[in-house]
């Protein structure tokens, strides 16, 4: 481990044939397992440096069945219990509008035994009734966070329904205002919510999305999510990609633990460098990124630095480089070198295609285009099988009948549980790690 507490490893085939332009590499970022290894800039700087908001859907549908709102209250209480002393926190309720549940004045409380008990009591009084306008909820969370100079701001959002009481444009605007202010993990309870809607929020706000089909599973899930949030110590970490003047970044994707395309999230630092957000980091975390760069070819035998990838922690004091890796290009006339496929690049290219095939296949199925759905989901079955992604293979088997895994020959099931289809959709981006 380096002093910063982060290591960066680059895995690639650096050899290009004559005239070759495309350089591809897997960049692995790992944080130190011991929290004390983290450096000064960026981290929360003590627990008062982090802030948590729980956003609970209190729309009328949460009453059907009646246990749903009860389980949501219990789950919120369970999450409150794991908030560490000294952390700023608040609970927000949402319908077609949003209001502070605790503290009732819209501020944030510092967690201790007393404030946690008071929060649980406030949550116990929550009743369901009204519509769903998630943009309103996000807006109140942003406003609440903004008054506190925490370096680490994370929200947990629970809903059971579609965003029916505002336009998609209103939601999109609300999401974009929250980008960079806080991160948000989203959970959909039941099967009446929209996967693509929550994914849009969790992707933009660098969080996770998942389905909790049965309300009784909420409390354990909420507690676990809050535990993970509590482990985060470094916020606002970005991957800074430097490229030569004549080169362009083709894409930057997180590929493990899940596929997340960051290409469009670039913030230009100067003409040759841009930052891609990675969100918050806890100790012992490891993520893989697939970086593609297009370079201007040089002569045989020449070496070029195609990209320098740095992990950068930004704070008001300035930027701190936490680690760095080099992506190289060497032109060779030795075909044995230039045609060699890097195993991890190949693996993650397949995993990204797998996620895409599932999402496109499910969309086609929804549109009634059975031919496309069968082809895409069949391709997904073959890819999941080849790459050993067993979790995804199991989820696929609940949606299609597999005839032949190798060729990806499948038949669409006539009867599919909504929960199974939604679980496949939300978890389609989960990848299997490729080890060196």
């Amino acid at each position: 481990m380096t002093e910063s507490g982060f290591t960066i490893d680059v895995d690639q085939n650096q050899y290009l044939p004559e005239g070759g332009r495309d350089v591809s590499a897997i960049v692995t970022v790992t944080s130190a397992a011991d929290a004390t290894g983290f450096s000064g800039a960026g981290p929360a700087g003590g627990q008062t440096g982090s802030a948590e908001i729980i956003i609970i859907d209190c729309s009328g549908s949460m009453e059907y069945p009646h246990t749903k709102i009860a389980e949501a209250r219990a789950a919120t209480a369970a999450a409150i219990d794991v908030i560490r002393d000294g952390t700023w926190f608040a609970v927000i309720a949402g319908t077609n509008l949003a209001w502070p549940v605790f503290p009732a004045d819209g501020s944030m409380a510092v967690a201790d035994q007393g404030s946690r008990a008071a929060a649980r009591q406030a949550v116990a009084g929550l009743r369901a009734g009204g519509g769903t306008a998630i943009g309103q909820w996000l807006g109140l969370a942003r406003q609440t966070f903004s008054a506190y100079p925490a370096s680490l701001r994370q929200a947990i959002l629970l809903t059971d329904g579609k965003n029916q009481h505002e336009t998609p444009e209103q939601l999109a605007a609300a999401i974009s205002q929250c980008e960079g202010v806080f991160s948000c993990d989203c959970r959909g309870v039941g099967t009446d919510w929209e996967v693509s809607e929550l994914r849009r929020i969790s992707t933009a706000l660098l969080g996770t999305v998942d389905i909790v089909p049965d309300p009784s599973g909420l409390a354990a899930d909420f507690a676990a999510m809050m535990q993970t949030a509590m482990s985060k110590q470094v916020a606002d970490v970005a991957l800074r990609v430097w490229t030569p003047q004549s080169a362009t970044v083709s894409f930057v994707k997180q590929v493990a633990p899940a596929v997340d395309d960051l290409t469009g999230r670039r913030t230009s630092r100067n003409p040759q460098a841009g930052d891609y957000p990675t969100g918050a980091w806890g100790p012992g975390e490891s993520r893989d990124y697939h970086v593609g760069v297009e370079v201007t070819p040089a002569g045989i035998g020449q070496e070029m630095l195609a990209a320098r990838v740095s992990l950068v922690a930004s704070s008001p004091a300035g930027d701190e480089i936490l680690g760095q890796g080099l992506i190289r290009a060497i032109w060779t006339d030795d075909e044995a070198l230039s045609t060699k496929l890097n195993q991890r690049v190949a693996h993650y290219t397949g995993q990204a295609e797998l996620a895409e095939a599932i999402q496109e296949g499910l969309e086609a199925r929804k549109q009634g285009d059975e031919e496309t759905a069968t082809a895409k989901l069949g391709r997904a079955v073959a890819l999941a099988h080849q790459s050993g992604n067993e979790d995804t293979a199991k989820l696929l088997a609940k949606v299609v009948d597999v005839v032949d895994v190798d060729t990806g020959t499948v038949r669409l099931k006539k009867q599919v549980e909504d929960a199974d289809e939604m679980a496949l959709d939300t978890r389609s981006t989960k990848t299997v790690r490729a080890r060196k």
Binding site: T243, P244, Q245, S246, A247, Q272, V295, A298, I300, G301, Q302, E303, M304, L305, A306, R308, L326, I330, D333
Partner: protein, 341 residues
Amino acid sequence: MTGATAEVGGTCPTCGQPIVATDSFCESCGTELAPAVASTASPGYTPECPVCSVDPSAPPGAISPDGYCESCGRKVPSGRDHAELDLGLLAGVTDRGLRHPRNEDAMALATAATPGGQVAIAVVCDGVSSSPRPDEASLAAAQTAVRVLLTSARRGDDPAESSLSAVRSAHEALTTLSSPGESPSATYVSAVVSGDAVSVCWLGDSRAYWLPAGPDGTAARLTIDDSVAEQLVARGAMGEAEAMASPQAHVITGWLGADLTEPEPHLSRFEPVGRGVVLVCSDGLWNYRPEAAGLAELALPDALSDPLGTAASLVKFALDAGGVDNITVVLIPFPPVSSAT
């Protein structure tokens, strides 16, 4: 030739006190008087981007600490890409060539003024490209070995024994460079040239040749490659030209690296009968002219009086022929007598 008498050999470059020609260290301040030299980046070398520096309108490009141009990304010469070393008694030139991204060859030279006369020492190593950090391996091996050979020569040790001990030290140096699963490796050839004999020690396919000055001598190769091609020739399976043209010609069967528990170097000793030149080189040169007679034709008679200039022209010969590999050429005129005496 320098005798055993304690003659004054000028002054110490550090303290200015008079020194004795056969002393290895200044009696007054302890400065090493004739240290070994190696093809490291020369002091004061400032890297410059070979692409951006030729554009007069471009601002002076910054070079990153890891050796890349900050504007076009091109790897800039490390200072090892081309190096020339001249110790008078011997000289060497090493060059990246035209097709490799960096120079993974290394050379180290030394001279010792011993009571028995002058001794010239050369080590040439060629990093094994399929191993990690071959450039570091070749330089570490050459620098470590020359140090051992120089100390031994000053003591008057047997060259064969000191050659083996130099290989052992170089092997240890590569072991410290290695990590689990990673074993930087290099070929190795050393030559210790005294007034009466040439002692050669090697592993791999870097070579030493004897190139005689007069018409009476016969040019000869002093090493036998550890290579598949050489084994084919030795077994009589193929002629040399045919073997060298075979796909495995350059697959080496011996090298120096931590993946070998015990290196098994080869030794040879040769007593020249007249004047001539010992050539020590990497395959970047001999690929284009493997025969000793052919190399003698290229190097003589200039190498007898101008080893540096001739080494440079041999490197140029290899570049003109294609420069596919890194090229290193060291020339040691025999007998080793400094022009001053």
